[in-house]
């Protein structure tokens, strides 16, 4: 029961912090929304009279006190009303909802690939730092950190798209509608189109995960409990994968979780290179056209993703590390 109480308090505190972060971000978004550019100028034609403009300004509530405007903005946001895109004159929420499946599928596949390749590569280089394959992995990771994402994309397009002609160089291929969600995962052309963008997007995260797992592994292998596990005669497999790997998980979960969030933001670059019709491409176009409602909505959306992911990461800690599950009084006693 104590455990549950501690857990509940922890979760509540996290949720409270998440709400604070969301309020700060929405305030930023609101400030952008309200003070950057002139919404009236965007909405009416050149020949609208000053009086008409003033009337419109009044009707939109732009003359109300700032606090009132912010409250109204928050109220709208909570109801999913993010305003109208200046550029396309369509509802922003509809616009983003259309684009979201493309970005999420891309980010998810990229994250999976980064994890499934990055963790084993990191474990291997941590366990056998002097083997030649480790050196190859290390070189790959250095390239992954140093090669700009967009350049990796361009090289892939050049080789597999232009020279070899194996894979499509832009777009999402054929998509299938599953409810409101349009997926590219169910068609051959959709999957083929996904390969290069996902590889490009995941490359940097793969590198980060690999480097992190490697350094954590090296750290953990030096600890007393690993030495003691060896002294007990446990097999290498039990020591490495039973004892060492699990102890590297906590930092790996943190970083990977945060990386999943940044994948959605980094997708802006990949989506531009491959003309992938996702939220990132929409956001970039919004910046170029100073489409403030789309920009501020994207900001809120990405922040929401981050906050949710952070929350999930915190809960995963609980699952992995028993030391966090104890009462805070006991924590004080054992240090």
């Amino acid at each position: 029961m104590g455990t549950m109480g501690v857990m509940a308090a922890f979760v509540l505190r996290r949720i409270f912090q998440a709400i604070i972060v969301m309020l700060v971000v929405s305030l930023l978004a609101f400030v952008m929304f309200t003070f950057v550019g002139d919404p009236i100028a965007q909405m009416v034609g050149q020949d609208t009279s000053l009086a008409d403009r003033a009337a419109l300004r009044d009707r939109l509530g732009l003359n109300d006190p700032i606090i009132l405007q912010y409250a109204r903005y928050l109220g709208n946001v909570v109801q999913g009303d993010f305003g109208i895109s200046f550029r396309t004159a369509r509802r922003v929420d509809v616009l983003l909802a259309e684009r979201m499946p493309a970005t999420l599928e891309l980010a998810l596949v990229a994250a999976l690939y980064a994890l499934l390749a990055g963790v084993p590569m990191g474990v291997y280089t941590g366990l056998y730092p002097d083997r030649w394959l480790s050196r190859v992995f290390q070189a790959v990771s250095l390239a992954g950190i140093s090669l700009p994402t967009f350049f990796i994309g361009i090289l892939l397009i050049l080789f597999f798209g232009v020279v070899l002609g194996w894979l499509p160089t832009f777009g999402r291929g054929q998509t299938v509608q599953v409810g409101w969600w349009s997926t590219g995962l169910l068609t051959v052309s959709g999957l083929k189109s996904l390969i290069m963008p996902a590889f490009t997007l995941g490359m940097f995260q793969l590198t980060l995960i690999m480097r992190l797992v490697r350094s954590e592994m090296l750290e953990v292998l030096r600890t007393d409990y690993i030495k003691f596990a060896r002294a007990r005669g446990l097999s290498n497999r039990a020591v490495h994968f039973g004892h060492a790997l699990k102890n590297t998980l906590v930092p790996v979960i943190t970083i990977t979780g945060l990386q999943l969030g940044s994948l959605i933001a980094f997708a802006i670059i990949t989506e531009t290179v491959f003309q992938w019709p996702g939220m990132g491409l929409l956001f970039l176009q919004a910046i170029q056209f100073v489409d403030i409602p789309v920009m501020s909505t994207y900001l809120i959306l990405v922040a929401a993703f981050f906050v949710v992911i952070n929350l999930v990461v915190d809960l995963l800690y609980y699952a992995v590390d028993p030391r966090l599950r104890m009462d805070s009084s006991a924590a004080g006693a054992t240090g």
């Binding site: 005669g233 699990k246 590390d321 030391r323």
Partner: protein
């Protein structure tokens, strides 16, 4: 004459640490043996090479440290050059180990039960249930109260002394014939030290387990050990029965060391103290390593290194004898 064969025999062991400025010799040509069921105390200041000797015996010398010469025999069989996998089967089963810090010796993420069971199952054919029952007996035997309730606890739920008991249970899990105990009580409260040492001594006596007790605490040695080896700067200065070494030490270093223990019942004006400090491994002088600090130093000590030779009831490496 198998009965007279020592359990463990170390011959001319040399441990080196190569680094970019040259090679450090951390353990220089030492020989010792441990008989079945015997407790050998190994004392010396930190850096004297006692822990490294222990690590070399269980085959867990950390790189870049390496055995550069000599041999280690268990039951007359060489174990210092065994392939990793064969040595692994000896660790835990034939030779157990206990380390200094009980707080960090246990994996924080796993229950005690899991750590005990995996050790038992690694070395025996027991089923999971049998192993669990055995684990319970072990916890009981090391004096964990309400062992059946504590079996599924995590390490952080135990105090330091209790954790060291768990560590002892793990080391004794499949009844090894030799335990390397490296400063097993140094990290514990003084009040708990005596309990842990008492427990270790009792369990080993009951099972006929030999112990190599590495410590810098002469008090612990005097109470526990059958024989003592005194190490200084990677060499053995003196070795012999505990009571002879304590009361009738020959080597000037041992002499100084014994003079520094306050003895109960004897009234001493002041404790003696050895001047100076043990030299760094890079600065060991030629001849006898103790010569810069030795009150009885003479010409030969500066030129030639003394070998271990019998003198009185102990073996001493000193030119005085």
């Amino acid at each position: 004459m198998a009965a007279n064969q020592p359990l463990l025999q170390v011959n001319n062991l040399r441990i080196e640490f190569p680094n970019r400025r040259g090679t450090l010799v951390a353990v220089d040509d030492i020989s010792l043996h441990i008989d079945p069921g015997e407790v050998l105390g190994v004392v010396g200041e930190s850096g004297a090479g006692k822990s490294l000797t222990g690590a070399a015996i269980i085959g867990l010398l950390e790189p870049p440290g390496r055995i550069a010469g000599g041999e280690i025999l268990l039951d007359g069989r060489r174990i210092d050059n065994l392939p990793y996998e064969q040595m692994r089967r000896i660790r835990g089963k034939e030779i157990g180990a206990i380390f200094q810090d009980p707080l960090t010796s246990l994996n924080p993420l796993y229950k005690i039960s899991r750590q005990l069971v995996e050790t038992i199952q690694t070395h025996t054919d027991m089923s999971a249930t049998q192993a669990r029952n055995h684990a319970l007996d072990l916890l009981d035997s090391v004096g964990i109260p309400a062992a059946s309730e504590r079996l599924d606890a995590y390490p952080h739920e135990f105090s330091g002394g209790m954790r060291q008991r768990v560590v002892i249970a793990l080391a004794l899990a499949v009844n090894p014939r030799l335990i390397i105990a490296d400063e097993p009580t140094t990290a514990l409260d003084v009040s708990i030290q005596a309990q842990i040492i008492g427990l270790l001594r009792r369990l080993c006596r009951d099972h006929g387990t030999a112990v190599m007790l590495v410590t810098h605490d002469m008090g612990v040695i005097a109470e526990t050990a059958d024989r003592v080896a005194v190490m200084y700067a990677g060499r053995i200065a003196e070795v012999g029965p505990v009571e002879a070494v304590v009361k009738d030490a020959r080597h000037p270093y041992t002499h100084g060391l014994m003079g520094s223990i306050p003895a109960v019942g004897h009234h001493v004006e002041r404790l003696t103290q050895i001047d100076g400090a043990m030299p760094r491994l890079t600065e060991i002088p030629p001849g006898c390593a103790f010569n810069p600090r030795c009150p009885k130093v003479f010409d030969k000590c500066l030129a030639e290194r003394p070998d271990l030779r019998p003198a009185g009831r102990t073996d001493v490496s000193c030119w005085l004898y």
